[in-house]
């Protein structure tokens, strides 16, 4: 096992990774931008290296600076967290070329899954169900119109290279398609992804359910249960829970088996997530995409399995033989506490005057900030993840209500009032919701 790990990320995920690195008796090296100098993850690391200005291109996304920090600090491995370099095959290669351990899947696996068109085609070949959609990159509107006519409206338009919901849009007719296509093209150009667009049949009232997998060093892939991530605003997740209240045992078994096949098809190593769309009425699913990294919402899986996913990532990256048998029990829910107004979900950065986290049985808070810190506009709005665990979903909901009420944040705008509202919403309480839930709450 390597002795030191550089965490190439910030905020709550840097802090969470550092915690496991140190618990395992390893040295944790943080990197940070000028804007983040006062955040807890910088203080908690054994060593911290300043990368540069707030702009990610000059700090967290500057490969030379991150690699220089690893050299300078003597770090032997790099954990990318999520976002930033986590799904960047070129960076993963540069890490390996520098003689360091990359804590993630192989650059080849990242590449194969990073292009959503390629991933779709690969999954179809591996026997994983996919939605009707384009198998070749769509590069102009004319092609898009023809493809949509063949697939049938409504269609989902997205960039082949993008992620995080950026540039995604639903088109219900040709006029809508022109708009969605334009939006996706602009996003593709702006975020430097491939200028290729993908069209897929859009499933109304779908649930977004994903399967956590771990690729082990002996070549096998294990599935560690699912997460339901259907509570979304602007195609971005707000609340996740496991088990999913919308899938039965038979569908769960099929989804987990398909996720294992998906992982094996790309020779997957380490933690990954196979995202699917589920038609709860028909109890059927299609592959959406695969995320070749640790997910934001990984704690809910940890809570019901007792497995520390970051520890497994480190052990697998070090080449250790990991044996796992996960029998999930109980119910876990995660609430993403965003710095945004709870009505329109617009960003609300600012200085934190009061920060009081709830605690107690079955409550876990992964936070990136403390009182006195400033949430800046340079990075994503996630301030903390409030997670609850209980033997049953009803009990988890009760704990969640208490924990949400007990979380005090003053300064930046925050969505805790939205979380409280959601916990009173009959659809959510009954578990009978889909990805349209938040829009309906704000209609």
């Amino acid at each position: 096992m390597f002795e030191s790990v550089l965490v190439a990320n910030r905020g709550e995920i840097a802090r969470r990774i550092i915690r496991t690195v140190q618990r395992m008796g390893l040295r944790a090296v943080a990197v940070y931008s000028e804007a983040d100098a006062d955040l807890p993850f910088v203080a908690e690391a054994d060593e911290a290296v300043l990368l540069g200005p707030a702009n990610p291109a000059q700090s967290y996304l500057d490969a030379d600076k991150v690699l220089a920090a690893a050299r300078e600090s003597g770090a032997q491995a790099i954990h990318p967290g999520y976002g930033f370099f986590s799904e960047n095959a070129a960076f993963a290669r540069a890490v390996v070329d520098a003689g360091l351990v990359w804590i993630g899947p192989s650059p080849e696996a990242i590449e194969r899954m990073g292009d959503k068109i390629n991933a779709r085609n690969l999954m179809e070949k591996a026997g994983v169900p996919v939605a009707a959609g384009t198998r070749e990159p769509v590069t102009d509107l004319e092609q898009a119109v023809a493809a949509a006519a063949e697939i049938g409206y409504p269609v989902m338009v997205k960039t082949a290279g993008g992620g995080g919901g950026i540039g995604m849009g639903v088109a219900r007719d040709e006029a809508g398609l022109a708009k969605a296509f334009d939006q996706a093209s602009r996003a593709a150009a702006r975020f430097g992804g491939t200028p290729a667009i993908l069209l897929e049949r859009y499933i109304e009232r779908a649930r977004h359910v994903e399967v956590q997998i771990l690729g082990l060093t002996d070549g096998t892939v294990v599935a560690l249960g699912e997460r339901d991530c259907s509570v979304q605003r602007r195609h971005q997740k707000v609340v996740e829970e496991t088990p999913s209240p919308g899938i039965g045992p038979e569908l769960r078994e099929r989804m987990l088996a398909a996720a294992v096949r998906a992982g094996e098809a790309v020779g997957y190593l380490g933690a990954g997530t196979v995202e699917c769309l589920v038609d709860a009425d028909k109890q059927d699913f299609v592959f959406l995409e695969m995320n070749t990294r640790l997910q934001v919402e990984h704690p809910v899986t940890e809570l019901v399995t007792g497995i520390d996913l970051v520890e497994q990532q480190l052990r697998i990256a070090a080449g250790e033989t990991v044996r796992l048998s996960a029998v999930p029990s109980g119910h876990a829910i995660e609430f993403r506490v965003y710095a945004e107004d709870p009505k329109r979900f617009f960003p609300g950065p600012g200085k934190i005057d009061v920060w009081e986290e709830p605690s107690g049985e079955g409550v876990r808070v992964d936070s990136g900030y403390a009182a006195g810190n400033t949430v800046t506009p340079f990075y994503d709005p996630l301030m903390a993840k409030l997670c609850v665990y209980a033997p049953t979903r009803a009990e988890a909901l009760r704990r969640a209500r208490e924990a949400v009420a007990g979380f005090r944040v003053e300064g930046p705008k925050n969505n805790l009032p939205f979380c409280a509202e959601l916990l009173d919403r009959p659809e959510f309480v009954d578990g009978n919701y889909d990805t349209g839930l938040v829009s309906r709450m704000r209609a």
């Binding site: 602007r234 617009f346 960003p347 950065p349 506009p377 994503d380």
Partner: protein
Amino acid sequence: MAEVRAEMVANVWKVLVAEGDSVEDGDTLIILESMKMEIPVIAEDEGVIAQLKVAEGDVIQEGDLIAVIE
């Protein structure tokens, strides 16, 4: 006369109008960026841009004056 002010701390990503331009109610004046999100700033009145106080790349604070429409 209508003042357009920033609703949040943000970076000015795109400026789509210039002083002297005529705008209609609902036109996008500038696009802000904050926390990885694009936020269009919309004219809530029709008229002529009498003053434009921001440029692309500026960082603006909540309440800052963006433009004056007359």
